[in-house]
């Protein structure tokens, strides 16, 4: 008779021990969850997150630890994950921000030119060619002619828009330069012009119209 009683007591003891262990494990997870480091945009929700974890710990066995962020309800601490997603989108998004001003072609070219090294041979050849073209337009004055690797820059001072256009067109339509495009910023009677280098020469440029 004594043996079955002892056996039941032993089973009860084991069950109690298992329950205590489970409780300890759950409480431990809740504590770890509340200690998860939060940085950046999430930090504003840190206190709310900690508060939730504390109240959950006090509820003991009714604790439910979420296994994934999507299981968090949309109210309360759900805002943490909305902010996380927003932060992620901000990082990886390629959609241009409409509030961000778009650089003009001139501004982009200016930036590129400022970071270019100098291709000595190409630069010298083209600087010489640009000066030669500019000399055909005595009413305008070209200065600061400089070529680097992919672009040439010159500053043109002119008496009127007709004279400026004549020079601009003279450069744009001179096959010797092998340019792929030009962009200019006009301020009053002075313009800064960038000439882009043609990457692959078009063989048809060898024959020009009469």
């Amino acid at each position: 008779m004594a043996f079955p009683i002892l056996k039941q007591l032993a089973l009860i003891t084991v069950s109690l021990a298992t329950g205590a262990a489970s409780l300890a494990l759950l409480t431990s997870r809740a504590t770890e969850n509340s200690r998860t480091p939060v940085v950046g945009p999430q930090s504003s929700s840190l206190k709310r997150s900690e508060g939730r974890a504390m109240s959950v710990r006090n509820e003991g066995l009714r604790l439910v630890v979420p296994s994934s962020p999507s299981s968090i309800p949309s109210t309360g601490s759900g805002s943490i994950h909305r902010q996380q997603r927003a932060a992620e989108n901000t990082t990886v998004s390629t959609v241009p921000d409409p509030e961000q001003p778009t650089l003009t072609n001139f501004e982009r070219t200016e930036d590129e030119f400022s970071m270019e090294a100098r291709d000595p041979r190409w630069a010298a050849d083209n600087e010489s060619a640009i000066v030669t073209i500019a000399q055909r337009f005595p009413q305008t004055r070209a200065s600061d002619v400089e070529c680097r690797t992919k672009h040439c820059r010159l500053v043109v001072t002119f008496p009127g828009v007709e004279e400026y256009n004549a020079m601009f067109r003279g450069i744009a339509e001179d096959a010797a330069l092998k340019q792929s495009g030009m962009t200019a910023n006009i301020e009053g009677t002075q313009a800064t012009i960038y000439i882009s280098r043609r990457v692959a020469d078009d063989h048809s440029t060898n024959s020009r119209a009469n």
């Binding site: 001139f106 009413q139 828009v161 067109r169 792929s180 495009g181 006009i186 119209a209």
Partner: protein
């Protein structure tokens, strides 16, 4: 029209032709009738267009409003043209600001005696500005000859 004369007043372009509308283009073009025009973008593909029937190369100037551009900062310019007895013909596109000054240019593209369309490049068109397409059409073998250079489309998108 006055603006175009101002733009090229000093530039010697020979006996250049000036077009301000598709109907005028058809009149001056001698060859063909305008039947397929898309707004101000000028299309006469395989219909006629403008042809240079003088023995010297002549320029054809085509202003197009930037309203046809997909974006002000990236306006693709295309044209269809051909060379003639005098050699190849060339086309180039310019962005012109509200004061009449050139601010951007595509590269100058050339075409032999085969009629074909080419993308000239993309332009950054200033606010209030427009695009000017300049076609330098090769001359014919004789005055009034039909073997001169020609232009059939000029369009922005």
């Amino acid at each position: 029209m006055k603006m175009l004369h101002k733009l090229f007043g000093i530039v010697s372009i020979g006996a250049g032709l000036f077009a301000t509308s598709a109907s005028e283009a058809a009149t001056l073009g001698v060859d063909g009738v305008s039947t397929d025009q898309s707004g101000i973008n000028w299309r006469e593909w395989l219909v006629g267009g403008i042809q240079n029937r003088a023995t010297s190369a002549r320029n054809w100037l085509m202003p197009l409003p930037a309203a046809h551009c997909a974006s002000r900062t990236s306006c693709a310019v295309r044209a269809t043209w051909k060379g003639g007895a005098g050699g190849s013909s060339s086309v180039i596109g310019y962005a012109v600001n509200a004061s009449g000054g050139f601010t951007t240019a595509t590269s100058q593209k050339f075409q032999s005696s085969t009629l074909a369309q080419q993308l000239l490049g993309t332009l950054d068109v200033p606010s209030g500005g427009f695009v000017l397409v300049v076609a330098s059409l090769a001359g014919a073998s004789s005055n009034g000859g039909t073997d001169g250079g020609g232009l059939t489309t000029a369009e922005l998108n």
